[in-house]
C-alpha cells in the first residue's frame, strides 16, 4: 500500500511539473468549447440543447489525448519494468496510475466543465448534475484509458490505435453520461454510470497489468 502511495505522489508531482499535464487537457477542453459555436453558429437555443453532449465529447477527447502519458514515459525510462519485477502487485500499480491520471485529468475537467459550459449556454440548473455525472463517468474513462495505454505500449504511432480501441468502449459511458446530465432518466442513468465505473475499477487494472506483462516479456 505504501508503495502505491509513493507512486501516486511521484506521478502527481510529475504531472504538475511536466508540460503536457493538467494544463494541456484543460486548454484542449477550452479550445473545443470555444470552437464549437464558431462551427455551429451562435444560436443560443441550439447551443443550450447540445451543451451537455458537447461537454461530454470534449471530456472524452481530452481524456484520450492525455492517455498515453499514463504508462509511456515509465515504459521508456524503464521504471515500469522495475515495477513489474518488484514485489508489489502490478494491478495495484496500474490502478494507482489510472487514479493519478483521473486526479490530474478527469477531476479538474469535471469541475471546470460546467463553468466552461456557460460559454455554450448550459442551463444553470443542469450544472450540478453535469458535474456529478462527469465526476463519476470520468473514473471509467481514466480506467479504460489506462487499459488502452497499456495495450499500445511501445507500439510506434500508437496514438490513433488507442482511439480506435478505446473509443468503442467509451460509447456506454457517453450514452449514460449524457442521460445522467439531465432529462427524465437522470437517476437510473447515473446509477448505471456508477456501475460502469465500478466494473471498470475491478477489470481494467487487471487487464492493464496483463498487457504490461505481455509487452515486457
Amino acid at each position: 500500500m505504501s508503495a502505491a502511495f509513493a507512486l501516486l505522489k511521484r506521478d502527481l508531482r510529475l504531472a504538475f511539473r511536466q508540460a503536457g499535464g493538467t494544463g494541456t487537457a484543460l486548454g484542449f477542453f477550452l479550445t473545443f468549447v470555444v470552437l464549437l459555436p464558431l462551427g455551429l453558429g451562435p444560436d443560443q437555443a441550439l447551443l443550450q440543447r447540445i451543451a451537455p453532449g458537447a461537454l461530454w465529447i470534449a471530456l472524452l477527447l481530452s481524456v484520450l489525448l492525455s492517455a498515453d502519458r499514463i504508462f509511456q514515459s515509465d515504459y521508456d525510462d524503464g521504471s515500469l519494468e522495475i515495477m513489474a519485477m518488484g514485489p508489489q502487485d502490478l494491478g495495484l500499480m496500474a490502478l494507482t496510475k489510472a487514479f493519478s491520471h483521473w486526479l490530474t485529468a478527469g477531476l479538474p475537467l469535471a469541475i471546470a466543465a460546467p463553468i466552461l459550459g456557460l460559454l455554450i449556454n448550459l442551463e444553470p440548473e443542469r450544472m450540478l448534475p453535469q458535474a456529478i455525472a462527469m465526476l463519476i463517468g470520468s473514473m471509467a474513462l481514466s480506467l479504460l484509458a489506462s487499459l488502452g495505454a497499456a495495450v499500445t505500449l511501445g507500439i510506434r504511432r500508437g496514438g490513433p490505435l488507442v482511439s480506435l480501441l478505446i473509443l468503442p468502449l467509451y460509447v456506454p459511458v457517453l450514452i449514460f453520461g449524457v442521460a445522467a446530465s439531465g432529462g427524465m432518466t437522470q437517476k437510473p442513468a447515473l446509477l448505471i454510470l456508477a456501475a460502469i465505473s465500478l466494473a471498470s475499477l475491478v477489470l481494467c487494472p487487471w487487464g492493464a497489468a496483463a498487457a504490461i506483462r505481455a509487452h515486457l516479456r
Binding site: 487499459l147 510506434r156 490505435l161 477489470l203 487487464g207 496483463a210
Partner: protein, 261 residues
C-alpha cells in the same frame, strides 16, 4: 527458441499439469489439420446445399402482410447479424483459451476469425440499411441496436489493427486477446439492446423464452440460412487457420535460414 505453431516444445516446458495432455494433443497443428482438412470438401457441400435450400425457400415464402416483398432482405440480414455475434463469441473464447493456456492454435483461431466477423457485421449493417430505407424511411438511425452493432464493427477493426501493429506474433496474440475479451461486453449489449431501450429495430422474434413470434413459413428459410452462414464461417475459418499455420511455418523456416547464415 521454437515458439509459434510449428513447435509446441517451448510451451510444454512451462506446463506440468496432467490435465493439459488432452489439450496439448489437439494443440498440435499437424494433428489438427489432419483431423479437419478432410472435412473441408464435405463442409463446402453442406454449405452450398443449405444456401441453395434457404434461398429457394426464402424466394418462395409468402410475402409479409405488412412489409411485402422487402421481408426477403431478412434472409440475408438476420443470419449475418447472428453470425457477426457468433464469430465475436468464438473469437473471445479462443482468445481466452489462448491467453490462459498459451495455446498457439487458439490464438490462430482468434486471429483468423476477426476478418470474417468484420465482414458479417458490415453485411448486417449494409443490408439493415437497405431494409430500413423502405420500412423506416431512413437509412440509418442512432438507436441502441444499430449503434451497438456499429461498435462491434469498430471492435473488429481495432482487434485486427492490433495484430497489424505488433510484429511479434506471441506478444500480439496476448495483447489482442485482452482487447477481444474486453470488447466481449458489447455482445450482451447488442442482444438485449432492443429490450433495454426503446428502439426502432424490432424486438427479438426468434430466440425467445416462449416461442418465436414469426410465422413458421417465414421462419424455416431463416433458420436454414442461419445454419448456412454458420457452416460457411466454419469452412472458411478452417481454411484460414490452415493458411495461418502454414504462413507461421514459413516465417519460422525463414528465421531459421537467417540464423544458419
Amino acid at each position: 527458441m521454437g515458439g509459434g505453431c510449428g513447435n509446441q516444445g517451448a510451451f510444454a516446458l512451462t506446463r506440468s499439469w496432467s490435465k493439459m495432455s488432452i489439450m496439448q494433443a489437439y494443440a498440435n497443428p499437424t494433428r489438427f489439420l489432419n483431423l479437419t482438412q478432410p472435412l473441408v470438401p464435405w463442409l463446402w457441400a453442406v454449405t452450398i446445399g443449405l444456401f441453395a435450400t434457404g434461398l429457394i425457400m426464402g424466394w418462395n415464402a409468402p410475402p409479409d402482410y405488412q412489409q411485402g416483398e422487402t421481408v426477403r432482405i431478412m434472409y440475408v440480414h438476420v443470419p449475418a447479424a447472428w453470425s457477426a455475434m457468433m464469430v465475436y463469441t468464438i473469437m473471445a473464447i479462443a482468445s481466452a483459451t489462448g491467453f490462459i493456456f498459451r495455446h498457439p492454435l487458439a490464438d490462430a483461431a482468434a486471429k483468423t476469425a476477426a476478418p470474417f466477423g468484420a465482414v458479417f457485421t458490415f453485411l448486417a449493417l449494409v443490408t439493415g440499411s437497405i431494409w430500413g430505407e423502405p420500412m423506416w424511411g431512413t437509412w440509418w438511425v442512432w438507436d441502441a441496436r444499430l449503434t451497438s452493432m456499429f461498435v462491434l464493427f469498430l471492435l473488429y477493426l481495432g482487434y485486427m489493427a492490433i495484430w497489424q501493429a505488433i510484429e511479434e506474433p506471441q506478444r500480439a496474440a496476448r495483447i489482442a486477446g485482452i482487447i477481444a475479451i474486453a470488447g466481449f461486453i458489447n455482445i450482451p449489449i447488442i442482444k438485449f439492446s432492443v429490450d433495454w431501450w426503446n428502439s426502432l429495430h424490432q424486438p427479438a422474434s426468434v430466440f425467445r423464452m416462449d416461442r418465436p413470434t414469426i410465422a413458421p413459413e417465414l421462419l424455416w428459410p431463416l433458420l436454414i440460412m442461419g445454419l448456412g452462414y454458420t457452416f460457411l464461417f466454419l469452412v472458411l475459418h478452417l481454411t484460414a487457420i490452415k493458411t495461418e499455420i502454414t504462413s507461421r511455418r514459413i516465417r519460422q523456416m525463414r528465421i531459421a535460414n537467417i540464423r544458419e547464415l
